[in-house]
């Protein structure tokens, strides 16, 4: 059974930031929702409430960066790039301010529907010069995201998981690296964020069915080590399947496709994720099933690539995690 860690960001941020006067904690009226309420209460000198005014917050953070501070902005990811995109560009990205953009509720991890789900943020951030992109996929990565982000000489976009988060890894994020989770030589599966746990579930079933999966988990999306990926692609016989909590345009599916095309790799590629669609509001398991982001979707994707069925049913997939929906820290809480 997977260990579940409760609110890993809350503790990790406080441990990392407290007592470092150059780090400021910015919030836009989502302080407890981003698990920094304890930090606010215990370290008020480093906390700055900027209200529901994200345009000002982005430029304000740029000004703090100009003064030599390293602001960590906390809000839901969508609110940091959709409305204040102009400010993100002009006040943060262009001048390479050391602003750490902690975007909560990536993709379908919220039942808040279109207005709350950042489904195209990676696509947007990948096209912004000077931007670094990190994504967390488990509690250990959440615990190490602050240190990883703060090691970057420039702005950093982070997809952060909150609430009850599974622990899948035992080593912290090493910026620029990728995690090799299994070393099969038939199919390469590339995942990030919450989709990695789904892929881990499917892997065992394929092993039983005689298909050896090589599984990579990406926590660093930009910059990206193309050669490392190409080496892995070169190590498998059949092709690549990507699975992401994001639209397939501009995310890691595109990243893999571009890498293959640039290098002239002629292998098959199946990209799974949100297929040119918005999502609606619902629970995470429901949305992942409905939009094809879960372990079963990966099974079908691999079958599509192989052109054969493996007779893997839902029952063959490793036991799905069941969140305590009555918990105070449930993912659904806004």
């Amino acid at each position: 059974m997977v260990e579940m860690v409760n609110r890993p960001y809350a503790k990790a941020f406080e441990t990392f930031a407290a007592g470092n006067p150059d780090i400021l904690c910015l919030s836009a009226d989502l302080t407890s929702s981003c698990e920094i309420d304890g930090f606010r209460d215990r370290h008020p000198d480093q906390f700055l409430s900027l209200g529901m005014a994200e345009q000002n917050m982005m430029s304000f953070a740029g000004g703090l960066g100009l003064a030599g501070f390293r602001p960590f902005i906390h809000t839901f990811g969508v609110f940091m790039y959709r409305r204040p995109y102009d400010q993100l560009m002009a006040s943060i990205a262009y001048p390479r301010r050391k602003v750490r953009l902690m975007g909560f509720l990536p993709g379908v991890t919220t039942p808040g529907g279109m207005t709350h789900q950042s489904i195209e943020d990676i696509s947007v951030m990948r096209s912004i010069p000077n931007m670094t992109i990190l994504e967390t996929g488990d509690a250990t990565e959440v615990e190490s995201i602050c240190e990883a982000a703060d090691s970057i000489d420039g702005p950093v976009w982070c997809r952060v998981l909150r609430g009850s988060v599974p622990r899948l890894f035992d080593t912290p994020i090493k910026v620029g690296d990728m995690r090799e989770l299994s070393t099969g030589d038939d199919i390469l599966v590339v995942t990030s964020g919450i989709c990695t746990e789904e892929a881990m579930r499917a892997r065992a079933a394929f092993t039983k069915a005689g298909l050896a999966i090589r599984h990579l988990h990406l926590h660093t999306i930009k910059p990206f080590d193309a050669q490392q990926l190409l080496d892995h692609i070169g190590s498998v016989r059949h092709g690549v399947v990507t699975l992401e909590n994001h639209v397939t345009e501009g995310g890691i599916g595109s990243l893999v496709a571009e890498t293959m095309a640039d290098a002239g790799v002629g292998k098959k590629l199946v990209r799974l994720g949100l297929k040119d669609t918005y999502a609606h509001g619902g629970s995470r398991p429901y949305l992942m099933r409905y939009y094809g982001l879960d372990a079963l979707a990966l099974v079908r994707g691999i079958e599509k690539l192989m052109g054969q069925e493996f007779d893997i049913s839902e029952d063959d997939l490793a036991v799905a995690r069941v969140d305590d929906v009555h918990s105070l820290v449930k993912a659904e809480a806004l």
């Binding site: 209200g51 703090l64 002009a90």
Partner: protein, 308 residues
């Protein structure tokens, strides 16, 4: 660093330089010189506490945008002196006033006149819409409405560091149409940021024409007061009024000086082009010649010999 010239003489010099440049180049940001010359002259010649320039008098060419691969990148802020704790900082929030701002740098001895010859030339750092790397600029402000927020963040950070220098913003009244301006004022009021000071060129003009015809903004002084700023309204061509306005107490609040100005001030013939004053490009050689003669007379100089 203080200049020895009278501020009204600096303002006249700014207008003369912008006039000459506009005639030679068949157009330019003339009206901004009419409205804003006193404000920029007053800031640079009297009010701002700035150190000596740290960048060459003749601007260097464009040396690339900020990137990991451009380690020697720097902004144009060095024309305002070093970013030392006790010195003031200035943002030109409407970067479209760049031509007027560059003329000001020349008039106060911070940039060589050759700098203006580089204006809007390919490969030059003296860009038409002031960029971060343009003389006297420290951030990009061509997207209107972000300047006050950036200044507020910088001022908050400087306060945390115990710096005594102020953070000034030269603003334009069109920026009050942007919601971000009001977000910035409320943030300053909430956090008691009183080291932000702004002087706003209230010329009632914007790109499409008179603000009242594009999007009326009503009584902006009352709005600023209600959002928690201190706000003084003055005649923007009256230097003594500026000197008085900056004495307004504003503990715990930003100070906004609304400088009401005339967009044709000292260049009366510009009124012919009302209400499209944002960028004046001459429509004919005849118009160019008439403007040349008329404005030269207004400014007490000979008409420009532009080789027609």
């Amino acid at each position: 660093m203080r200049n020895e010239r009278q501020t009204d003489d600096v303002a006249l010099g700014i207008r003369r330089r912008v006039f000459e440049h506009a005639i030679r180049n068949n157009g330019g940001y003339l009206s901004q010189a009419c409205s804003a010359a006193e404000q920029l002259a007053w800031l640079y010649n009297e009010e701002l506490k700035l150190g000596a320039p740290t960048l060459p008098m003749i601007p260097k060419p464009f040396e690339g945008v900020p990137s990991q691969d451009n380690p020697d990148y720097h902004t144009g802020a060095g024309y305002n002196g070093p970013a030392t704790p006790h010195h003031d900082r200035l943002f030109i929030a409407p970067a479209h006033y760049a031509l007027v701002a560059y003329a000001t740098l020349i008039e106060v001895g911070r940039m060589a006149p050759e700098g203006l010859e580089m204006f809007n030339q390919d490969g030059s750092s003296v860009e038409m819409i002031g960029a971060e790397h343009s003389p006297g600029m420290e951030v990009h402000n061509g997207t209107l409405g972000i300047g006050l927020s950036t200044a507020s963040g910088l001022a908050y950070g400087r306060r945390l560091r115990g710096e005594t220098g102020r953070t000034w913003v030269f603003m334009s009244d069109g920026e009050v149409q942007e919601g971000q301006t009001w977000e910035a004022v409320q943030a300053c009021a909430h956090h008691g940021i009183d080291t932000v000071l702004a002087i706003m060129d209230v010329n009632d003009q914007q790109c499409d024409g008179a603000m009242s015809s594009v999007m009326d903004v009503g009584d902006i002084r009352t709005k600023f007061l209600n959002f928690g700023a201190s706000c003084v309204e003055i005649d923007g061509h009256d230097l003594s009024a500026m000197r008085d306005a900056v004495q307004e107490p504003h503990a715990g609040k930003p100070l906004i000086i609304l400088a009401r100005t005339n967009p044709f001030h000292s260049m009366s013939i510009l009124e012919e082009r009302f209400p499209r004053l944002h960028y004046v490009r001459f429509k004919s050689e005849d118009e160019r010649a008439r403007f040349n003669t008329s404005i030269a007379a207004d400014l007490g100089v000979d008409p420009v010999d532009y080789g027609h």
